[in-house]
């Protein structure tokens, strides 16, 4: 659903709208990059924990 059309018409051409769009798109890009970074950190943590668990399991098996 595109509610922007219901509230206002999409950005008309002009310098001010180009600047606003550029800033908006940059912020959206940064948000996506930030989210990707958060997910990478999460998966790395999970990987490390899984490795720890594996090591403990092999140690127990050896004993």
């Amino acid at each position: 659903m595109n509610f922007l059309d219901a509230i206002v018409s999409p950005f008309p051409s002009g310098t001010s709208s180009t600047v606003i769009l550029a800033v908006g798109l940059t912020v959206i890009g940064l948000i996506c990059a930030g989210t990707a970074a958060l997910l990478i950190v999460h998966f790395r943590k999970e990987q490390k924990q899984a490795e720890k668990r594996r090591r403990k399991a092999t140690e127990n098996d050896e004993e």
């Binding site: 509230i7 018409s9 798109l25 989210t35």
Partner: protein, 359 residues
């Protein structure tokens, strides 16, 4: 069984909260923003705050789950509605932050308590879009005052405080993992889950209902709400693979071939929105102990999908072809993602054995 009171209170609060936010945007804020560029900028700020903050709130809420984020979100949006129309620009900030906080908390909590069922999440997710449309129509057609919504949101904040299950947050979250292929690692599942969600958002933005003006926008919004609700219920009944396959195929035909026929468009929109709750559930399967971060990741992708709304893109044949291609991609990814490959290979091996016996 999940608590019905919490489910109903969250669904109603979601509807009223989105209604209040869009009432604020289309009413108080539009009267302050003198040009369409400023109004568009305000909408963009709200969109960025509401969707963009969810991943970061998601991380916080996963670390400290026993916060009453839904009640706080309702109060913040209530505060934004209480501010006079002259402070329209200021009101955008509590409204955006409150909306982000509520959505992350409510949807994340619904996923944490879902016990592997998609329908609970679907019920909560479905009401928002109708609230947004209703808020826009009320702001344009009536002279209602914002404080009515402030009052309503304060009551809902209390209801969420008492009924929401934040105090009984489960230590171990039952995952949706049973519904997803087991041959992929978690990051692979998450990456593939976000593709259909991006397609849903992109196609919904690229193929807007041109015929729906004024109060008529309630019709596609209702179709979207019904689609999201029934999608989750159908996924529990028939499985996510069959549901996603049928829904994306139906959306492909109805939205790309008949985008100008209102009732077929509405049916197509319902079909397009139906797999939303499946995507949220599968993202939780990949991020099993972080349901709020799953909501955040899905929201960031939805935000990315709304970018074409900022540009004037006419509905040409090439746009329809692009949407068709995207829907085929989503269909293929969903079928691959929700197929039980282990069982499939096991069956193939069995069939091969039988054939070998016969030979």
């Amino acid at each position: 069984m999940p608590r019905k009171e919490a489910l109903i209170s969250q669904a109603v609060a979601h509807l009223v909260l989105d209604l209040a936010c869009f009432f604020l945007l289309a009413g108080n804020f539009s009267s302050v923003a003198q040009t369409s560029v400023l109004a568009g900028a305000g909408y963009l700020i709200f969109l960025i705050l509401s969707y963009g903050l969810r991943p970061f709130f998601g991380v916080i809420l996963d670390e400290i789950p026993r916060t009453h984020s839904q009640a706080v979100g309702c109060l913040l949006v209530g505060l934004a509605c209480f501010l006079p129309p002259s402070l329209g620009w200021v009101a955008l900030f509590p409204a955006g932050v409150g909306s982000a906080l509520f959505h992350t908390g409510a949807i994340g909590e619904s996923l944490a308590f879902a016990r592997g069922y998609f329908s609970r999440n679907a019920v909560i997710v479905s009401t928002g879009v109708f609230g947004a449309a209703l808020g826009t129509v009320l702001a344009q057609k009536t002279a209602l005052s914002g404080w009515i919504f402030s009052l309503l949101l304060c009551v809902l904040a209390l209801v969420c405080f008492f009924f929401a299950e934040a105090r009984k947050y489960p230590r171990r979250i039952r995952s949706f993992r049973h519904s997803v292929t087991l041959i992929l690692p978690d990051w692979g599942i998450l990456s593939l889950t976000l593709i259909p969600l991006l397609v849903i958002s992109l196609v919904g933005t690229l193929l807007p209902a041109d015929w729906a003006e004024g109060p008529m926008i309630l019709i596609p919004a209702a179709a979207c709400m019904l689609g999201r609700g029934t999608g989750g219920i159908a996924a529990d009944r028939f499985g996510p693979r069959k549901t996603a396959l049928v829904c994306f195929a139906a959306a492909l035909v109805l939205l790309t071939v008949f985008p100008h026929v209102p009732w077929l468009y509405c049916l197509g929109l319902s079909a397009l929105c139906a797999p939303t709750s499946i995507c949220f559930g599968t993202a939780t399967a990949a991020l099993s102990r972080r349901p709020h971060l799953a909501v955040g990741a899905c929201s960031a992708v939805i935000l990315l999908g709304t970018v074409p709304a900022l540009f004037h893109i006419p509905l040409t044949v090439s746009v329809r072809c692009l949407c068709g291609g995207l829907l085929i991609l989503a269909l293929a990814v969903s079928v691959g993602l929700y197929t039980d490959h282990c069982r499939l290979f096991h069956l193939t091996a069995k069939i091969g054995k039988r054939k070998g016996d016969r030979v």
